[in-house]
């Protein structure tokens, strides 16, 4: 195990990690997650996109219109400034990219494993935080809301689609989320590849 941890990465795998670091930079520029909403009065749909540092509508007006719909049932207004996670998420991403570049200077398999652990932690914490955020928005309703339906909560799904009143909400990873997932897959592949290389060296 210890030999694997300090095994120097193959040239190809070092390049792959460099690629992961570079492609992660693009996550600053594209949304990670998207929630889309459709209803009879919105045949063209409304969309909300979660970025590493902000929440936007799919069009310049969608977020405003989602908030307008939400005010009937007493949901809090969704504005980027009210979500503290968005303040430090860019640093977390920066740390991951930094890790990838450090690996180029110190190209050991252990660094790849650290990357896997980091990505899994970021993923799990991110998803559970997202769920908690959705839960709060969906349950923490204004008691003076115009429309109150006994027992009704409006928590959007973590992944997949859900019907709430006359609205269908769907939640899926966006490009940035897919890139984070692919980065994890790449690192796992590197680990598997290095492990195979170690075994063949022993023989």
């Amino acid at each position: 195990m210890k030999t694997l941890l300090f095994q120097t990465l193959s040239k190809r795998n070092r390049l792959l990690i460099l690629g992961v670091g570079l492609i992660l930079v693009s996550v600053f520029l594209i949304p990670i997650w998207s929630i889309s909403i459709s209803a009879p009065q919105y045949p063209e749909g409304l969309g909300m996109q979660i970025w590493i540092n902000k929440i936007t509508g799919a069009t310049p007006y969608d977020l405003k219109n989602i908030n307008l719909l939400n005010h009937y049932i007493g949901m809090q207004e969704i504005i980027s400034e009210s979500i503290p996670e968005l303040l430090f998420m860019p640093y977390v991403l920066g740390y991951l990219i930094f890790g990838a570049f450090i690996t180029e200077l110190y190209p050991k398999v252990g660094m790849a494993i650290l990357g896997i652990i980091n990505l899994i932690i970021v993923g799990l914490v991110g998803l559970s935080d997202f769920w908690r955020w959705e839960y709060n928005y969906g349950h923490n309703l204004n008691p003076d809301a115009p429309i109150i339906i006994e027992g009704m909560a409006y928590q959007p799904p973590l992944l997949g689609c859900k019907v709430m009143l006359n609205i269908t909400a769907c939640s899926y990873p966006s490009y940035g989320g897919v890139i984070l997932g692919l980065s994890l897959v790449t690192l796992v592949y590197i680990l598997w590849d290095e492990n195979r290389r170690k075994k063949s060296n022993v023989h």
């Binding site: 007006y61 219109n65 307008l68």
Partner: protein, 639 residues
Amino acid sequence: MNKKSNLILIILGVTLFSLIPNCKKGASTATLASDAASRVYVAPGEKDEVYAFLSGGFSGQMSVYGIPSARLFKIIPVFSVFPENGYGFDEETKDMLKTTHGYVPWDDSHHVEASMTDGKQDGRWMFLNANNTPRLARIDLKSFETKEILEIPNTAGNHASPFATENTEYLMAATRFSVPVPQASVAIDSFSKGGFKGTVTMVKVDKNTGRLSIELQVLVPGFNYDLSHCGKKKSHDWCFFSSYNSEQAHKMLEVGASKKDKDFILAFNWVRAKECKDQGKAYNFGGDYVNNFHDENKPAVSTRLSGVKMLNPKDCPGMMYYMPTPKSPHGTDVDSTGEYIVGGGKLASVIPVHSFSKMIEVKDKKEHHSTEIEGIPVLKYESTLAGEVQKPCLGPLHTEFDGQGYAYTSCFVSSEVVKWKLGTWEVVQHLPAYYSVGHLSIVGGSSTEPYGKYLIAMNKITKDRYLPVGMELPQSAQLYDISSGKAELLSDFPTVGEPHYSQMIPAKLLMDKTAKLYPLEENKHPYATKSENEAKIVRLGSTIHIYMTAIRSHFKPDIIEAKTGETLYFHVTNLEQDYDIPHGFAIGGAPNMTNLLIMPGETRTFKWVAPKPGIYPFYCTDFCSALHQEMQQYIRVSP
């Protein structure tokens, strides 16, 4: 014969007689193709293929229909006030209806013209004339709203208007009623002595902004100028105006103006006219007029202007020629190639067709001139004639072209549309019209590249066509499919006002370009309120400005206090940024003001003088949301 057989005969006779009307009905609908219903049926959720813009005649408006379904989508107020959305009432748009005669909130609108680039419809603007108080308007096809109105001075009855040149460089506007120019109180019989004049006005259209301005007026003999169409391709430099009453009769025109065998089509070289103006041959002439412009999200600005450049035909040789045309021509229409100029002699028994090439060839050869009227050479009829459609129908008026070498002419007296072939001048089909058809329109039919496919005939009379609705029956438009060799009647539908002319545009040219909202951040209205935090009430002596916001489902501020006699301006901004969510605003019992209908991101102003003490409700008039009925509040007026 005994009594019994007599009785049988009588019964038989009565039965036969009663069958006659049924037979007649059968005959009139026999032209309907059996699958016509499915060809005009647009299933729920599907879209029409074509936009039809119909002038509203004496309604002063323009209406928008979908073709082939014939569903009415919108009425665009142009020259008439419109209580539905406050046009002409609110502080933003009331200046649109200003003229030198004061506020004129109505007109008689005949001709719709589409803007063109290279002779093809470009989907930017529609233009509409006001016949009664001479004006012309520009309607923006992103917002489907009237953006500009220009008054035309030194004219009366702006009928031959607004016809566009091939690139919409200019719109033409010519006098229907000749009058003394400049206006003066003269003996009416001086008309017959040349005391009355007509004018042809070149209205310049700015190619980027669409803004209208008067380039030049040409003083022409005092006939009645009726209609116009401008040339295309080789005839690009020319516009053609029909005229009647070249007799210059001033009473009982029915007889007096129908004496001569031929009146004229006036050929006008507008490029030459501009050249003469630039050479300084036009002179300064009086004439007050008003230009009203409604920029997006600003109050309309009405500007009073004075004076034009006037040109006399004798000072600009080569600019104008008269082509004799039988008999009291109404329509003058140029085919898609620009070669043929078709006259619609409403009392003629032929449809005369002039050849542009022939006209160019002979126009300056003395042997082809018969005389000259006030500096305008009169060419010989035969010299410019390409051919005549013999005995086409009774009362030919207007002609449109399908781009496939066929022309369609409406015939008022015999209530039909005749299809005939350009070049052979043979009638190939008679299509009955119900009844008294005026203009007709083919999709893109006045452009260089007609889209064809559909033709509508616009009819004046609908006796027995629809359920009777009292003494005034609706006018109608009648839809034909002209895509195959034989045109077929598909449907007919009642219209708003009296549709005179129409422009039809393929839907794909417009539908994706229409505006959905006004971006709030671009709202430049001086009284805009861009968020609820900015909503406020500002008192300036006895005037109160209420900076109000409307959003689903409330107004802010929502409680207003005033004293009797104070003037309140409700500047209402619709904060929505969602397609199809306007809010309304109306105050109970408000005189002189109807309603505001405020588009998303727009600001509109309702002026109200506080009446006698009491509580006055105000509310949203457009069913905007589940809580629309709650979108209401009160104004308290104290002594």
